[in-house]
Subunit: 564 residues, 2 copies
């Protein structure tokens, strides 16, 4: 069995040609690649009923050059007005730039680009130089009723960047990347929203050198898209980093925000707490560009103690045992691990293969202990923060794990996970090239519904034959967690895929999962939002939309606000 | 000097007669009294230029019976409609009930009641039996455009309960006090909003007996008004408890809320986190009854570890030294003490007298160490939570205190403070009886503005002769704290008092203090809100108001929404 699939597909390891569809949808750096290891590939082939022949020839590589297509919704004269604001060097009307700015990483985006489709793109792409440019652009769009969108890292998996009504898209990563204030006294930093994750984090780690600070800091926010997402994007979509259980979700990190909106500009109050009515800072979090353009934001920063990081891992007999243990950890009252992850049996078995643990001495020891494949669940994580805090929490976590019959596995699996955590998304392209689809959906859930949600979604998905479903919980709160579902199956047509996806989304929400935990809503989940929130709560969002954007120009259709 | 003022005023220790103004404004329980001790009284007399003769005869005791006055704004016929909803036993039109329901604990309330004034009261007081009653009442008020207010504990210090346009007031503490769900798995409890602090906390402490729970819990919310405020009131005004630095402010404790509003009813999502756009749960926090009536709320609860509480106290040489040290504690990265308090020199000197420490051996030792009256500052607090967490944090706090030249004073001052923390407000009535005014204002502030705010407000207030100003910081965040100002001076007329108060509020906000940290806005701070937030952010609140309450019937005038 192990030797049966020891063939290696001709993985594509070519830097995409400039101007091609592939250069837009490929994950991450053009010259970086990662492929499933033989153990993982073996599972995929087996579960999907694929054989060596299915991996002979990659297809739908999207190597065609993007052809130019005319603008749809506004005149050359209007285009000239925008160009005069940002300058010709920051104004692009070629279709490649327009397509790139409107594309995220949803399966729908990828299927369309692999099929060479050019749709839902803006008419003009602008790279604003500063806040003053943005003010002028927003005023002009408002006056002329031209749709306005914003992009930065382009990692949206919910079609948050699509432009079904054309208009303009602002690219924030070119100029809107400045540090406006580093305030060590308040332990905050104020930056422009286009700053990318690594630049942000590196700067904080080197605060002594760069800002003459007393010590190094961390931003504490590490989504899987960390390398290819922006600080502003984290906040406007309510993202969560992999260390959110200690540092908080993106929404928890934002002290204040500066917005330009069609009906007025403002900076929210930066007090640590206020009792002055509903907080506009909260109202803007997660607004996904539907109310205005975020031009600056003040974020909490944290003392950086890399030496205090303590990885841990356990194996539990069942998913229920694992969930019970992490719930105990989450309610212990002695702080939270930064990273904490529970893999279900299917993901655990794949992880054992990916981490090269399958068949090893530890694996045989686990089996002897009754921790069998198909049932056992890997729990791993790390504590961090101030050293004495991390040390104490680490001890308590170990105590809780062991008292709930978890087998302690040292920090090894966590170290393996850490090594791959930002590069795993590259595997998606490799598999897509051979007609294997990978996509994800995720939901928040209170503790009392975790098991029902897990089992219900799993039995629903498994009705479709040839479906790998890896599930994990990766963000922890005293009141609950999230479930993250990863589907691997044979490539479908877009219609088939959307029908499948709709079925899963409806199953999730019917079983008390939230419509989104940290992916946002965009246009993909928008059709489900009113059912999820109920009419009155949706009315509240619509009222806010009218107040900020009466002409419905701001990212129309996202969040289900303003018909597309 | 110490013996000079050893007279004892004839403090009023009479249970107020039923039906009197005094029975409405007196703090807390009718038969409970607390008076300044001789040391405190000595300072008051000295600073305010009072002598024994000034304390001979109490005055303006408000012992008059509240006389009945007719309704102002709606007919007997309308009154009958309301009565038919709640039943005659839950419907009151006598002026005493109406005045009581509209009165809080602001100095303005007290001055008016001591002067026997009856104003800004509703026409009818209703005690709704359940959510169905509230739905009917809200529909009826909306249809007939009758103002609708809600009261519970009546501890508002911002005229949040006044009814300048008449209408009806709902009293929530009679029937709306049920527990709807105790969910140990999610570590939440769902209650009706009229439940009072002690009933709520006792129930959680006795969760094993009452709910057959695995362990005891705490709600973690202990405002000074704890005994006389309701769970719902905490949330709709964004209150903060004295242990907020560990447990969070009221807004942090709310998982979900159930509202009846003029334009529709809803329950917000109870997920631990979501990325489904701006959160309606956030929007409703702090809405002060201006959008709808809160009918139920789900709150976080916490494991109760009374054995893990560790009190501590330090004396620092100056206010700046004390603030520096507590900032280090707040940013340590090893969790937060539950209670943490910094008293400025004036409050420290008074505390030394109140706690009987002045002139003792420890006092002389402090002076020898250079910790002199007029400059030294008391810092005290306690750690709690899971025992190993509390123990580690206590060690770190002591380390930080000592490394910043704080003299460790053991837990003694903290224990003294704990003993008096809920009874100190009784002293206000005692002093008011002798023409001594006590009032407070408070503000949130980022660390970089603490000292300027402190000095600026102090020098402004001290321009008025005969003014005691005690200042403390009592709620701590990584990004800042709050300053709480307590004024003691000779009684003024209402006009003089309001002019003084306006001057201080304007000084606070000019020096980067927030308009309110945890008192809320009500009608007292409403005139300052638009300047504080700016027009556009105020427009957002107005848009929400229009959406929920287009006829402007919900607590009109509070939060500056809907003209009074």
């Amino acid at each position: 069995m192990t030797n049966k699939h020891q063939w290696s597909p001709p993985w594509v390891e070519k830097v995409p040609e400039p101007g091609t569809f592939r250069s837009i949808f490929k994950w991450g750096a053009g010259d970086t690649f990662k492929h499933p290891n033989p153990g993982f590939l073996q599972i995929i082939a087996k579960e999907l009923g694929l054989v060596e022949g299915d991996f002979k020839q990659p297809a739908f590589l999207g190597e065609k050059i993007v052809e130019n297509r005319p603008c749809i919704s506004f005149s050359q004269k209007d285009a000239a007005l925008f160009e005069s604001i940002v300058g010709p060097e920051n104004c692009f009307s070629d279709t490649y730039a327009r397509l790139k700015s409107a594309t995220g990483k949803s399966m729908e985006d990828i299927l369309n680009l692999r099929a060479g489709k050019t749709q839902n793109i803006p008419d003009l792409v602008l790279h604003p130089k500063n806040r003053a440019d943005i003010e002028k652009i927003v005023r002009l769009c408002h006056e002329k009723k031209i749709p306005l969108h914003v992009t930065a890292g382009g990692s949206s998996v919910t079609q948050g960047l699509a432009c079904p009504k054309g208009g303009v898209t602002l690219v924030m990563t070119t100029h809107m990347t400045r540090v406006l204030e580093f305030n060590e006294t308040n332990q905050t930093i104020t930056v422009e929203p286009g700053l990318m994750g690594p630049a942000y984090e590196d700067m904080l780690n080197q605060a002594r050198e760069i800002f003459n600070a007393e010590r190094p800091y961390t931003g504490g926010h590490f989504p899987q898209s960390f390398e290819f997402s922006s600080v502003g994007g984290w906040v406007v979509t309510l993202g969560s980093g992999q260390a959110s259980s200690y540092y908080g979700d993106a929404g928890d990190l934002v002290v204040a925000q500066d917005y330009v909106t069609p009906t007025g500009d403002f900076k929210t109050l930066d007090f640590p707490a206020t009792a002055t009515g509903p907080k506009i800072n909260d109202i803007m979090k997660g607004s996904e560009g539907c109310f205005g353009v975020l031009t600056a934001l003040t974020l909490k920063i944290f003392p950086y103690f890399p030496e205090a990081v303590r990885p841990f891992a356990f194996m539990f007999r069942t998913f229920a045992d694992a969930i019970f243990a992490v719930r105990q950890i989450s309610r212990s009252g002695c702080g939270m691990p930064s990273v904490l992850r529970v893999s279900d049996p299917e993901e655990t078995d794949i992880a054992m293969k990916m981490y090269g643990l399958e068949g090893t001495l530890p694996d045989r020891f686990m089996s002897l202990k009754g921790l069998k494949p198909g049932s056992r669940c890997l729990v791993m994580g790390r504590t961090e923060g101030e050293p004495s805090f991390s040390k104490n929490l680490f001890r308590q976590v170990k105590k809780i794990g062991k008292s709930n019959k978890g087998l302690y596995l040292t920090g090894y699996p966590m170290k393996k996970w850490q090594a791959g955590r930002f590069s795993d998304p590259y595997m998606r392209d490799s598999l897509n090239d051979f007609g294997v689809l990978i996509d994800t959906l995720e939901a928040a859930v209170t503790w009392d519904h975790v098991e029902d949600l897990y089992k219900g979604v799993r039995s629903h998905v498994k009705k479709t034959p040839g479906m790998i479903l890896m599930t994990h919980a990766s963000h922890f709160y005293t009141q609950g967690t999230n479930l993250y579902f990863i589907f691997i199956t044979k490539m479908m047509t877009l219609d088939e895929f959307k029908a499948f996806q709709t079925g899963v989304i409806e199953k999730i929400t019917a079983l008390h999962g939230s419509l989104s935990h940290h992916h946002g809503v965009g246009r993909m989940l928008a059709p489900f939002l009113e059912t999820h929130l109920g009419k009155k709560q949706m009315d509240v969002l619509r009222a806010l939309k009218r107040e900020f954007d009466p002409h419905n120009i701001m990212n129309p259709g996202a969040l289900g606000l303003g018909r597309q």
